[in-house]
């Protein structure tokens, strides 16, 4: 992509005023590294983490969501750092085994394995649950297949065949190997000399590291992943002194760190990466302890947990886009929110980041574009198209972000991006169709779709698959009508599974699909459902839990209400889960 200058997002985004799991992990790990855990409110943090535990033994990114390997790792690691008990680790280990796809571990049951998920699952299984790897032979074959011809590690064996290495994939591979070794198992048989050499060559002249040759500038995230990997491999950067100087130079006046040179927004991940890198380089961090602890204390939210910057300014793209799409902002606020979203397109990854400084995500990019971001900026739109193309997985689908296994939500969000850009030339459309085909099943003579190749069928996955197939030019109207009828709840709304328990997201997507394909919508049926999820604050996700409402549910509810009231004829193509 063309050079994008680092910048603090201009304008004014909207915040959800909630703690974030990854921010909370990064905050606690940073405090642990500088030995200032005493400043954390342990009982409140324990309650925050415990509320994410599901009955299947896994943990979710937010309360009420399905379990995934990413959330399970960050929840259990945070509890470990706090010296708190991780309850019923046998159940967690049993759930982690369900992630094994025959080669390695996936983020969710039924999904295809990737390096991120395999790292999270193995470390949780071996280091937290003291569990055992059940199928070593295919796992080692898969791990060993991650090494590229250039020496670095990739996201999967298929990506390795394309010689796509990344410092993050190296970190996940190397730390998974460390977990195996600590459990008394051998390390994967990588050529470590070439792995070290590849990592070392990612150091730029200024001293920091880049993700890979395709990245244009050094950042603290890549620097931490590279230095920690090198330390585990008993190696150092070629110029360790310049590296530590570069890290210290990212320190800001307020006690935090910034991710890039020239960037003026400090955040919790930059702090985490800076302190972790200095530790990996064998540098002292005690001198940073007071200011790091003070900075992190400013990120605490009243309900427990931490966000990425001072809570009142911790905006995010989904909440900001929801504010715009839901029609609650005046002209000035709307323009300010759009400018803020556009500021979340940052160096190295041209998609839109959920929070600036975090990492570009497919779903957030789709919401940002739907809200109107970059409408008049062809260069930025072209960069997004190229970034999206680089994310397409060998199976033809898309994952949440770079290197993640494919899922139907992200694949449908990728198609929504292509529709917004009006250009699909960078993407392999035959691959897209192949992935959707891999998630297709037959149930009593009816075609159904799941979010992952080996997942359970659902309404939303079906709607997402059909929207992709329609984009590919296939006739789907009849299939859509059959699918909607199968999930229409008698009294009102649509259910993701079966036809008994309606929810707002399924209902939104069902109505949006019906309108897009010119299928009839039962207005009285929809109005009855909306009345059941309407709250004083907006709309709830489920009629069973009216406390469960946020900016996103309010946005979808308002859009549906506008349709019911005759103020809208179509609904934006918005994917969430």
């Amino acid at each position: 992509m063309s050079a994008l200058l680092p910048k603090f997002p201009q304008g004014q985004g909207l915040a959800n005023h909630q703690a974030d799991l990854w921010c909370t992990y990064a905050a606690i790990r940073s405090l642990a590294w500088v030995e200032r855990l005493g400043s954390a409110d342990v009982p409140q943090l324990q309650a925050y983490i415990q509320s994410r535990r599901n009955r299947d033994g896994g943990y979710a990114w937010s309360k009420g969501m399905p379990s995934d390997a990413w959330a399970t790792f960050y929840c259990t690691e945070t509890l470990k750092d706090l010296a708190a008990t991780v309850s019923d680790t046998d159940a967690t280990a049993a759930w982690l085994h369900t992630l094994f796809d025959g080669d390695a571990y996936a983020m969710c049951p039924g999904q295809t394995a990737d390096a991120w998920a395999t790292h999270y699952a193995l470390r949780t299984l071996l280091e937290v649950c003291q569990g055992e790897v059940q199928q070593r032979e295919p796992l080692y074959r898969w791990l060993e297949g991650l090494q590229c011809a250039n020496g670095g590690l990739s996201w999967s064996a298929e990506f390795a065949e394309r010689d796509v290495a990344d410092t993050r994939a190296c970190f996940y591979g190397v730390m998974a190997a460390r977990a195996l070794q600590r459990a008394g198992l051998p390390a994967p048989a990588w050529d470590r000399t070439r792995l070290v050499a590849w990592l070392q060559t990612q150091q730029l002249a200024d001293g920091g590291f880049r993700f890979s040759a395709s990245a244009e500038s050094a950042c603290l995230w890549a620097t931490y992943r590279a230095t920690a990997s090198l330390a585990e491999l008993h190696a150092l950067p070629l110029d360790a002194k310049r590296c530590s100087d570069w890290i210290v130079a990212r320190r800001s006046g307020a006690g935090g760190f910034v991710r890039w040179q020239g960037y003026d927004g400090e955040d919790v991940w930059a702090v985490f990466c800076a302190v972790g890198s200095l530790k990996a380089l064998g540098q002292p961090v005690a001198w940073l302890a007071d200011e790091v602890a003070d900075y992190i204390a400013s990120l605490a939210t009243p309900g427990g947990g931490y966000t990425y910057r001072e809570a009142s300014t911790a905006a995010d793209v989904l909440t900001s886009a929801a504010g715009i799409l839901g029609g609650t902002l005046d002209g000035g606020q709307r323009a300010a929110a759009l400018r803020w979203i556009e500021g979340c397109q940052m160096p190295n990854e041209a998609g839109i980041m959920y929070m600036p400084g975090r990492g570009a995500e497919v779903r957030c990019t789709a919401w940002g574009l739907a809200a109107g971001a970059f409408a008049e900026q062809p260069q930025a739109r072209q960069a997004i198209g190229q970034w999206l193309a680089s994310l397409q997985n060998p199976d033809g689908g898309f994952g949440f972000w770079e290197g993640r296994g494919s899922d139907m939500v992200s694949t449908a969000a990728a198609v929504a991006i292509l529709q917004s850009l009006g250009d699909s030339s960078c993407v392999a459309l035959d691959g897209l169709q192949r992935f959707i085909g891999s998630c297709q099943h037959e149930d009593s003579g009816r075609l159904t779709y799941s979010a992952y190749p080996r997942g359970a069928s659902s309404l939303r996955a079906g709607l997402q698959a059909l929207s992709c197939l329609a984009y590919l030019g296939q006739p789907v109207q009849q299939a859509a009508a059959v699918l909607l009828a199968a999930h229409k709840v008698r009294q009102g709304g649509f259910a993701n599974h079966g036809q008994r328990i309606p929810d707002l997201l399924s209902t939104y997507q069902a109505v949006a699909m019906a309108l897009a394909f010119e299928l009839p919508v039962d207005i009285a049926h929809l109005r009855f459902f909306l009345d059941k999820v309407s709250t004083a604050q907006g709309f709830a996700w489920s009629p069973l839990y009216l406390e469960g409402s946020d900016a996103l549910s309010a946005c979808l509810g308002r859009l549906l209400q506008a349709f019911v009231d005759g103020r809208r004829r179509h609904l934006p193509n918005l994917q969430l889960s």
Binding site: A47, Q50, S51, N54, R55, K63, G64, V489, R490, Q491, G492, G493, R500, I501, P502, D503, F528, F529, K532, W541, S542, P543, L544, Y545, L546, G548
Partner: protein, 94 residues
């Protein structure tokens, strides 16, 4: 042997799901408060499903005002008793 009361059957069913503390909750006490941080839409579905399975009844998630009828154990037993009675009436009419 006497059949346990509906309320006791509900308590026994939910104790399997939520732990033995359910056996001792005041029948007028808020079940939502008892669940505390565990309460969300998934938990609500699990509670309702467990009661449905125990009594072979079907709850309508929208029309039956489940937020009201599943608020306390006392309301649950009244709701279940009514549903069972309705079911018996329907069966007799067939």
């Amino acid at each position: 042997m006497n059949t346990p009361s509906i309320e006791l059957q509900i308590r026994q069913t939910l104790a399997q799901l939520l732990g033995p503390e359910v056996l001792g909750i005041d029948s007028q006490a808020s079940f939502r408060d008892f669940l505390g941080e565990r309460f969300d839409s998934l938990m609500a579905v699990e509670v309702i499903t467990a009661v449905e399975d125990r009594f072979s009844i079907e709850v309508d998630y929208l029309s039956d005002d489940v937020r009201f009828w599943f608020e306390t154990l006392d309301k649950m037993q009244r709701f279940v008793a009514q549903k069972v009675e309705d079911q018996l009436t329907l069966q007799a009419a067939e």
